[in-house]
């Protein structure tokens, strides 16, 4: 064991961790609103709209993230006729993929608020939008918080998948250094500790929300 290899490459590894966190943040910020739209679509009374949204969610949820990434990495350049950079295809693939998962969480959250609440809101003279805004959503968001936090951890762990196309996040950075220095044991152990620290902090937050709900 020679931990010097970790300290010598520490700045590089930290930059990798920074890229992972940044990628996760961008994906969460973009896919959550899309997920909300999908949830609204699935709860809509228009049959075709809810069918389209359900189809989208089921298709994405039954495919692995790696394969979705391959699809975008491969087919988007084919459609637009020129190559795009790795970062863009990673972000687009991840956003589309995780929007389906966020959509399901939001839908479950909204449905967890009973229909009686909606009826009570409507009969007290609020419009449908007001009922949603002041009665359903505040309760739904409260009950969704643990699941949303857990999903953010899943997104962060999912950023490792960008490794397969050589995106320079922590996983790929670690494997590059491990190959160059032939010290896989120390480097992968360090990466494991780094991922664990971030995800464990997230899971504590999720547990805190669970207690509040």
């Amino acid at each position: 064991m020679d931990w010097n290899v970790v300290s010598a490459n520490f700045p590089l590894l930290m930059r990798g961790l920074g890229t992972s966190l940044q990628l996760a943040a961008v994906v969460i910020v973009l896919s959550f609103p899309i997920g909300c739209l999908i949830a609204i679509g699935r709860l809509s009374r228009r049959r075709w709209l809810s069918a389209v949204c359900a189809g989208f969610v089921h298709t994405l949820r039954s495919n692995p993230l790696v394969l979705i990434l391959f699809w975008f990495y491969f087919s988007v350049p084919l459609i637009i006729g020129r190559s795009i950079d790795d970062g863009a295809s990673v972000i687009v693939a991840f956003v589309v993929f995780f929007a389906a998962y966020f959509g399901e969480i939001v839908r479950a959250g909204v449905q967890s608020v009973g229909t009686r609440q909606v009826q009570a809101g409507l009969s007290s003279g609020l419009s449908y939008a007001q009922t949603m805004r002041y009665i359903v959503l505040p309760q739904a968001i409260r009950s969704m918080r643990p699941a949303l936090t857990t999903q953010c951890i899943v997104v962060f762990q999912g950023t490792t998948v960008a490794y397969v196309i050589g995106y320079h996040e922590l996983m790929h950075t670690t494997s590059m250094i491990a190959e160059r220095t032939v010290r896989p044991v120390e480097l992968y152990s360090f990466a494991a500790v780094a991922y664990f620290a971030v995800c464990y902090a997230g899971s504590l937050l999720s547990r805190h929300f669970e207690k509040q709900a």
């Binding site: 298709t59 491969f74 084919l78």
Partner: protein
């Protein structure tokens, strides 16, 4: 978009054999890992509810470690780090093993999924009315027999929908085994694309494999759930994948 479809290519050699082998690999990798994960997950889940503090702590430690490290990294740890920690002659045996990547994937996938199943089992056991525990013990069962004959069969039925979706998760997660060199369907789709430049056809086969298996599993497990149902005891939940 200028792209010439050539679906017939998928039936030509060597692609056809690759695809069939890869689908078979994906299925038995997922099935084997899932069975192991169930066994480990049930054991760990039971540990987390026992009166022994040491066992509870060990169970919690297991779950936290395996849940909070990304699966892809876990596979790398099993591939690169784990053999280094073995005694010398085991290491030689492991390195000479023909399909070391496959067994690495089995270990990685089952231990990762076991942590998730353990959590489901734990909450299922908490949902069992305390009267069941007392009744089992007062009929003279030992604590082990109580878990073996009363609590676990009960808990497993409660979590049939959850373990169905865990199977689907492990099935999708087999795709990550491509990073350690297992020829499952996603990696073969990538290989076919590289060989023939027919990516849409190749990736369609891979996606179709996942979608069809998902549908088949949901139908099958719906039937299992109906068969395993104990009248009057468990409220049936709708399985949702």
């Amino acid at each position: 978009m200028r792209y010439e479809f050539r679906w017939g290519m998928l039936l030509e050699q060597p692609y056809f054999t690759w695809i069939v082998d890869a689908i078979a690999t994906t299925l038995h990798l997922a099935l084997l890992s899932w069975i192991l994960a169930l066994a480990i997950g049930i054991a760990v889940g039971v540990m987390r509810n026992t009166p022994s503090r040491a066992l509870r702590f060990a169970g919690a430690l297991y779950v936290e470690i395996f849940r909070n490290v990304p699966l892809l990294l876990q596979l790398f740890l099993w591939l690169y780090v784990f053999p280094e920690l073995l005694p010398k002659h085991w290491q030689l045996y492991w390195n000479r093993l023909d399909d070391a990547p496959y067994w690495t994937a089995v270990i990685g996938l089952s231990l990762f999924t076991a942590a998730r199943i353990a959590e489901q089992i734990r909450s299922a056991i908490l949902a069992i009315p305390p009267g069941q525990f007392k009744a089992a013990l007062s009929t003279g069962l030992t604590p082990f027999q109580m878990y073996r004959y009363v609590i676990v069969p009960y808990a497993v039925r409660i979590i049939i929908p959850a373990i169905t979706s865990e199977f689907l998760t492990i099935f999708k997660n087999t795709a990550l085994a491509l990073t350690i060199g297992v020829a499952e369907i996603s990696s073969v789709a990538r290989k076919i694309e590289a060989w023939s430049f027919k990516g849409i056809e190749a990736y369609t086969v891979a996606s179709a494999t996942y979608v069809c298996t998902t549908i088949a599993v949901i139908v099958l497990m719906g039937w299992v759930e109906k068969r395993a149902y104990i009248p009057g005891l468990i409220k049936r939940e709708k399985s949702d994948a």
